[in-house]
């Protein structure tokens, strides 16, 4: 690993390209740096880290992001050297069981977040829709009982009243949808990692799925 982080001495005040080059030390480009990292056993180390992390529960998005970053780094290196597939296959059992454990923990984390919030995303969405429909109905009733001028005035006032509520609710929902999207992305990456590097190479490895100690709970928390 020596030299990987070595930075060129001298003027670093140059343009972006110069800065990027200096960050790569003696390496010609990023690919060369990655190749050296692989040669020195860096990917093996990353893989061991992935399967060796003693995570008993996911209690924050930080932990999720760590898993995501680790996976992203592994995927990045796998693109450089196809021979690394063999390295993953050698450790297929711990890799698959670890990915399943992470998926299980992510599912449980989702439920925990939902309990803390007191409401599911689907519930908030349904409430928002019901509220909007009720307002529309109310507006229609009001319009029906007013004359033409009153209708215009009434519609403008109603819009003003409802905008505040709508904005707040929409903002809350957007934030939740964004958070949910992040979690879904990690779940998809874990499945894709297992599928691409293990099951696609060795179908027989699918038998490892049966070994997972709490398959029923894992599937339930993930799919519902």
């Amino acid at each position: 690993m020596e030299g990987l982080n070595t930075r060129k001495q001298g003027d670093r005040a140059g343009k972006g390209q110069d800065q990027a080059n200096s960050a790569l030390g003696d390496f010609e480009d990023l690919t060369a740096w990655k190749r050296r990292f692989i040669e020195l056993g860096g990917v093996g180390h990353l893989l061991d880290t992935l399967v060796g992390l003693q995570i008993e529960a996911i209690d924050s998005r930080l932990t999720l992001r760590c898993i995501e970053s680790l996976l992203a780094a592994l995927l990045d290196f796998m693109r450089v050297d196809q021979a690394l597939y063999g390295e993953i296959l050698q450790k297929k059992e711990p890799v698959v069981l670890t990915c399943m454990r992470y998926l299980h923990l992510i599912g449980l984390y989702g439920l925990q977040v939902e309990r803390a919030r007191g409401e599911a995303v689907e519930g908030i969405q349904a409430k928002r829709t019901a509220k909007r429909l009720a307002k529309q109905k109310m507006r229609q009733l009001q319009m029906a009982s007013l004359g033409n001028q009153g209708r215009r005035r009434g519609a403008a006032e109603n819009d003003k009243d409802s905008d505040g509520d709508e904005d707040e609710s929409a903002e809350q929902l957007n934030q939740l949808v964004q958070e949910f999207g992040e979690v879904c992305s990690i779940v998809a990456q874990l499945f894709s990692f297992m599928d691409r590097f293990v099951f696609e190479q060795d179908k027989g490895a699918l038998r490892i799925l049966e070994q997972y100690p709490n398959l029923q709970e894992m599937v339930t928390v993930l799919v519902l």
Binding site: A120, E122, D195, R207, L209, E210, V223, L224
Partner: protein
């Protein structure tokens, strides 16, 4: 993953274990998750449609019970669709699974 196991005799036990979880363990739970079961039923439908009849053979007895249970649940389910805007996702899901299984 189910699709990868399909048609592989060596992977039949894995397929059976996964289907057992999805159909006999998770499906009853979906009845209580009206707002979030749509995706489950959709994916289950897609998965079942991809499978071969031989993949389901070891579960024949379980599936027969499941078909009977689904038919009874559909018949006994209270009407929730009060207008065209309300959809009973559990009912729709159960009917879809029943159709695929039959």
């Amino acid at each position: 993953m189910l699709a990868r196991c399909s048609g592989e005799p060596a992977l039949q036990p894995t397929m059976t274990a996964l289907l057992q979880v999805l159909l006999t363990k998770v499906l009853p739970e979906a009845h209580n998750q009206e707002r979030r079961c749509a995706e489950y039923f959709e994916q289950l439908q897609l998965a079942l449609e991809e499978l071969k009849a031989s993949d389901l053979a070891p579960l024949e007895q379980d599936l027969w019970q499941l078909v009977q249970g689904l038919a009874a649940d559909i018949e006994a389910r209270e009407t929730r669709e009060v207008d065209t805007k309300v959809e009973d996702r559990v009912l729709v899901g159960m009917m879809t699974v029943l159709r695929v299984l039959l």
